[in-house]
């Protein structure tokens, strides 16, 4: 690991200023992703500003919804009574990710900041536009079994590996961030992460030095019919090949509104407006779910080794919706 200066931040504004004033500085919260990447020489900050002791860990009612502190641990968030009661889909998504130890370390803000990544990003002997812009993409014509089938560009075919953000997207969360000037702004979770386009080195919409302070959840109608389905190479402690955050509001057997967000298929959490439109006003039946799944994948562009993901995603969507509607 390269040498870096360690600074313990005393307040959010001071932390934001410290990072903003050094282009090579980064925030440190749980450290589970950035330290790993620093050990591999993929991330090379010359300064880490430790924000883990800032008072940003509270989970509390806010308006008709709930505000989740950026520095609340994943474990504490998933198990908080307010979250389990009002946003059980979020609880399911968080505990589908990583391991018990990592969820005890990882913070909510840090979870959103984890890099979109693949093996070529980790392997410093291989080209990677995300790690070193302009060097090319090793995965595009390499081994791409786990890579994207939607929204990718010639520059990058990596997938966003997180689970928490998929559920947050389905729950219409808003990310609250604070800049070095002390001003706060909000970013809808769907605009927080980016598709690769020509700048795969940028995973999200934050400016350098902006600090996530909270994630706000509006009141949710999805407390009865929800399911987070994660399909992976082994039963636990692995990234998703395909994940589905499914939520339904059902009235007398008819779907009033639906949320379908896919993980493991694109550079960011992939919400399918097509699937949601296909479900709206339809009976909550397996046939409706299968049609929605077809709609979600109609524009899929698989790579050489991941065509299986198209069919897998369709079946995963249908199954997640069946579970959400309590028919399976």
């Amino acid at each position: 690991m390269r040498p870096f200066k360690y600074v313990r931040a005393s307040a959010p504004d001071a932390a934001a200023r410290a990072v903003a004033s050094n282009p090579q500085a980064k925030f440190l919260a749980g450290g589970t992703n950035i330290l790993d990447l620093m050990k591999e020489d993929v991330e090379r900050p010359n300064e880490l500003v430790d924000v883990s002791r800032l008072m940003l860990a509270e989970i509390k009612p806010a308006g008709s919804g709930v505000s989740i502190g950026a520095l609340a641990k994943n474990t504490d968030t998933a198990n908080h009574p307010l979250i389990r009661k009002n946003y059980p889909l979020l609880t399911q998504a968080i505990v589908a990710g990583a391991s018990g130890q990592l969820r005890n370390m990882a913070t909510n803000g840090g979870n959103l900041m984890q890099r979109t990544r693949c093996q070529y990003f980790y392997d410093t002997s291989m080209p990677c536009n995300k790690r070193e812009p302009g060097t090319g993409c090793g995965a595009l014509e390499g081994l791409n079994r786990i890579h994207a089938i939607l929204g990718w560009s010639e520059k990058c075919v990596a997938t966003y590996p997180g689970d928490m953000a998929n559920a947050l997207y389905a729950l219409d969360a808003v990310v609250r961030v604070r800049g070095a000037n002390g001003r706060e702004r909000t970013i809808p979770i769907g605009e927080f992460h980016r598709l690769p386009g020509d700048t795969p080195e940028r995973d999200n919409d934050l400016q350098h030095g902006e600090l996530i302070v909270a994630i706000d959840l509006p009141r949710s109608p999805f407390t009865m019919n929800y399911y987070y389905l994660k399909v992976r190479d082994r039963a636990s402690y692995a990234f998703a090949l395909v994940a589905v955050a499914a939520a339904l509001e059902i009235n007398d057997g008819t779907i009033r509104q639906a949320r379908v967000v896919l993980g493991g298929v694109a550079h960011k959490p992939w919400r399918s407006a097509e699937a949601e439109a296909a479900l709206s006003g339809k009976p909550a039946s397996e046939e409706s779910f299968r049609q929605a799944a077809e709609a979600a994948l109609k524009d899929a562009r698989p790579l050489a080794h991941n065509a299986y993901k198209v069919e897998l995603a369709k079946r995963a969507i249908a199954r997640a919706l069946m579970r959400a509607s309590r028919q399976a």
Partner: protein
Amino acid sequence: MNDDFDEISEPELTADEEALLEEMPALTDVGSARRTFLGQSITGSLGVFALMLLEKERALAAFEIPPDALFAPAPAVENPVKVVLKVNGATKSLEVDSRMVLLDALRERLGFTGTKKGCDQGQCGACTVLVNGRRVLSCLTLAATVEGKEVTTIEGLSGGGKLHPVQAAFIKYDAFQCGYCTPGQICSSVGLLAEARRGDVSHVTEDVTVTTTRLTDDEIRERMSGNICRCGAYPKIVAAIQEVHSDKQTAQLWRSVGDEEPTRERKEGKGDEAI
């Protein structure tokens, strides 16, 4: 001798074993903790194994390694950070390179070599320790961030001459082969049991809105998925955790050569058992 492992508090040693223990070099605090453990191991039917270790220690001690060899000053420190933390109840004051992770601080600077380095990148769980009572990966924890916190390693779980119930259960169920992942497995189990008592849910919990502290074997398997065991001792690890969790004692299933046959719950030949 087979079924009462949990009840042993004071090691009962033969004269030969006492003599061996007496001859062991008193290297460090760690050494004395290990002596206690080895003493207990002897009484726990691991005598042959433990005696071999003692012989090795004796042979190594003959080289007369200077007592401070394990604690040689660290190489050049860049970006030094002062850290005061508690490890197994004792306050420790260190100046570390900002890059140093807790795992290396424990092993290389403080002599707590019970915590193991496996993958060193958060994928295997061998380095699991408890920080403020919660299980974390020491390989992905900067030592600088542990300022003011309490760390418990495998060395700190036993106390008063008694193994932690999870340690005793791991021995009873033979829940390891090579043993390299075992300190991490045990620390992780201790953290898991506390999480279950708190009512935490997992990926296999059917209804996450309901608080449940009952751990099925599936729940244990899922919650231990962050600890990889190359030897594949998983079934016995699950059984060991299940016994501590359910507090239902079962008979020890293995014995050393020469030991008496374990007492069975039901005697054979009574004629009331279906074959």
